[in-house]
């Protein structure tokens, strides 16, 4: 590189000389951006062009009219009323509600389980502590999908039926479903009862839903346990010592002193885990639970409307994620303010 000739004596009011644009550090960034932007635009134009051409050829150009056509398939368990004569959009809505139901229930369950296990890893009892560790290490290193099919095919589908069903106080586990006690007619507390060899109760969950919940709760519980453990570990040791020197028991110390302080660390971690849980609920299709993804898959197979179905799916999951994020950010603000 040739050295630049010495500059002429600089006058006081001068601005630095302008170099040719290809060596100007103010210009280069814009050139880089323009080139990258142009390449990306070209790629998108190329893909979209192909998409439009191929869809036109297949007679599948973007249209939403099929949403109004009758779905023609049934959804075995739907919270909102649904039958095969209702249009596709109702089917997708029913699937979405099923997804939300699964996410909400397993979110609560996984949080409870994770908190307990996270607390257990600080127990005085060595056995309990190690058990918590083993649970986390086992669950995290086995694919969720494998766990789900295990719960479904190995555990829930091998449950006995009728009299032989597993009867716990208020709950009966049978191959035909999970029967849970609840408020029956006239606001009386009704437990599961066997009528003509068939169990009946105010609240019945399908084994598919049961397997999905169990799988999601056990899996997410392990990750949440790690978040809780990290949060508790982040609280200075002096807090434990101060509390126990005041005579507080182990549990009281944890509940009254340590956990409230650790929330600051735990809540952002929970946000990530909740979003993963919402996304993971789409694996419901493997255990035959009709969630949004499963309805979408059936819809695609029947209508061939790949692009529209994908758009619906992506929009739904992104909205769900944003919703969870917004709620958790609100909660986070609450926890952080209380700290001061």
């Amino acid at each position: 590189m040739a050295p630049v000739p010495p500059a002429e004596p600089a006058s006081a009011s001068a601005t630095p000389p302008t170099p040719p644009w290809w060596r100007d550090r103010r210009v280069i960034p814009w050139v880089v951006q323009a080139v990258v932007g142009l390449l990306v635009l070209l790629l998108i134009a190329f893909l979209l062009g192909n998409l439009v051409r191929n869809l036109t050829a297949a007679g599948l150009l973007l249209s939403w009219r099929w949403l109004q056509q009758p779905a023609g398939f049934d959804i075995s368990e739907s919270v909102i009323p649904f039958n095969a004569q209702l249009p596709y959009w109702r089917a997708l809505a029913a699937g979405l509600v099923n997804t939300i139901r699964a996410v909400l229930v397993s979110l609560v369950g996984a949080t409870l389980l994770g908190t307990l296990v996270g607390m257990a890893s600080f127990s005085h009892n060595g056995l309990l502590r190690r058990l918590a560790r083993v649970y986390v290490e086992v669950v995290r290193n086995i694919p969720l999908l494998l766990q789900l099919v295990f719960w479904y095919f190995v555990v829930f589908l091998t449950l006995p039926n009728g009299v032989a069903a597993i009867q716990l106080p208020g709950v009966v586990l049978a191959k035909s479903g999970l029967y849970i006690a609840g408020l029956g007619e006239g606001l009386r507390w009704v437990g599961p009862t066997l009528v003509n060899g068939v169990w009946q109760s105010p609240l019945r969950l399908s084994v598919e839903f049961g397997a999905l919940l169990t799988g999601l709760i056990v899996y997410s519980g392990a990750f949440i346990a790690e978040v809780v453990r990290g949060g508790i570990a982040a609280v200075p040791k002096g807090q434990w010592e101060a509390a126990s020197s005041l005579g507080l028991s182990w549990f009281a110390t944890l509940r009254r002193i340590v956990l409230p302080q650790s929330l600051r660390v735990i809540v952002p971690g929970l946000n990530t885990q909740y979003i993963s849980l919402a996304k993971n609920s789409s694996l419901a299709v493997a255990v035959g639970y009709t969630d949004l993804y499963s309805v979408a898959e059936t819809t695609l197979n029947q209508t061939g409307r790949a692009v529209e179905v994908i758009l619906v799916l992506l929009a739904a999951y992104l909205t769900l994620d944003l919703l969870i994020s917004a709620l958790m950010n609100g909660l986070n603000r609450l926890v952080q303010i209380r700290e001061r």
């Binding site: 630049v4 601005t15 630095p16 000389p17 060596r23």
Partner: protein
């Protein structure tokens, strides 16, 4: 102490800089540094002194005025920026040693990569430089295993290994524990005795008094006073300088 030659190493005229947030950090700062000269820049925090010397090797850009370093006009020209950085060494307040490289590798990285010199030769030179700053026995350690003073001496050796024509020091002793300041200042004094051109931003009055050829006071983005050490510390011509000296002495 040797006399400075008349050859200009740094010539900065009416340099003005605005940060992207609109802060007007330099408001027409001037400075001339001759070959072999040691110039100390002092001033209250926020006076723009760090920003000013960081413009000399283009770590900061500037919008108005001119700076030429060793005859190279600094502008937004990438070619000149690269050329200047090869000729100007910099020592930072926070040392900025590369923690993933050993002390020796810290020294040899740039000469091998930038100057494309053979590795064996650079290593010989690096060991000699470490000897010169008094830590040859630490060559195979990692920066994290050294004390702050040792790290800063390695940083000086690292800058020297590129054989720069000018050395810039940005508050080299401010992050050090008091007992380590002296070992670093001694190294810097030795460099000054070897006629290396140095621009030093520092609060060390003793160093400024005994080593510098000239002391400069910056305030509010301009050079307020420029004088020989004796004059600067005993009989400054500006009120602003007197106020500053009252605060630090």
């Amino acid at each position: 102490m040797s006399q400075a030659s008349s050859e200009l190493m740094i010539e900065a005229r009416a340099v003005e800089k605005w940060y992207p947030n609109g802060f007007h950090a330099l408001r027409g700062a001037d400075l001339t540094v001759r070959r072999g000269e040691v110039v100390v820049i002092m001033g209250p925090s926020g006076s723009g002194k760090s920003t000013f010397i960081r413009t000399f090797n283009a770590l900061e850009d500037f919008q108005k005025g001119r700076i030429s370093v060793d005859g190279i006009e600094l502008s937004n020209d990438l070619r000149n920026i690269d050329a200047v950085r090869r000729e100007v060494g910099m020592v930072f307040q926070q040392f900025n040693l590369f923690p993933h490289l050993s002390v020796l590798e810290n020294l040899t990285l740039a000469p091998v990569l930038v100057r494309r010199r053979p590795k064996a030769e650079v290593e010989q030179q690096a060991l000699a430089l470490l000897e010169r700053v008094g830590i040859a026995e630490q060559a195979d350690k990692f920066p994290g295993q050294l004390s702050g003073g040792q790290q800063q001496r390695v940083a000086i050796a690292r800058a020297l290994c590129m054989e720069p024509r000018i050395l810039l020091f940005d508050e080299p002793t401010s992050a050090l524990d008091p007992e380590m300041v002296r070992e670093v200042l001694e190294v810097m004094q030795n460099l000054a005795d070897d006629d290396i051109t140095m621009v030093v931003v520092t609060h060390e009055v003793k160093f400024a008094r005994h080593v510098a050829h000239r002391v400069v006071l910056m305030a509010d983005g301009v050079v307020v006073e420029e004088a020989e050490p004796e004059v600067f510390f005993t009989n400054p011509s500006h009120q602003r300088t007197r106020r500053f000296l009252d605060q630090i002495l």
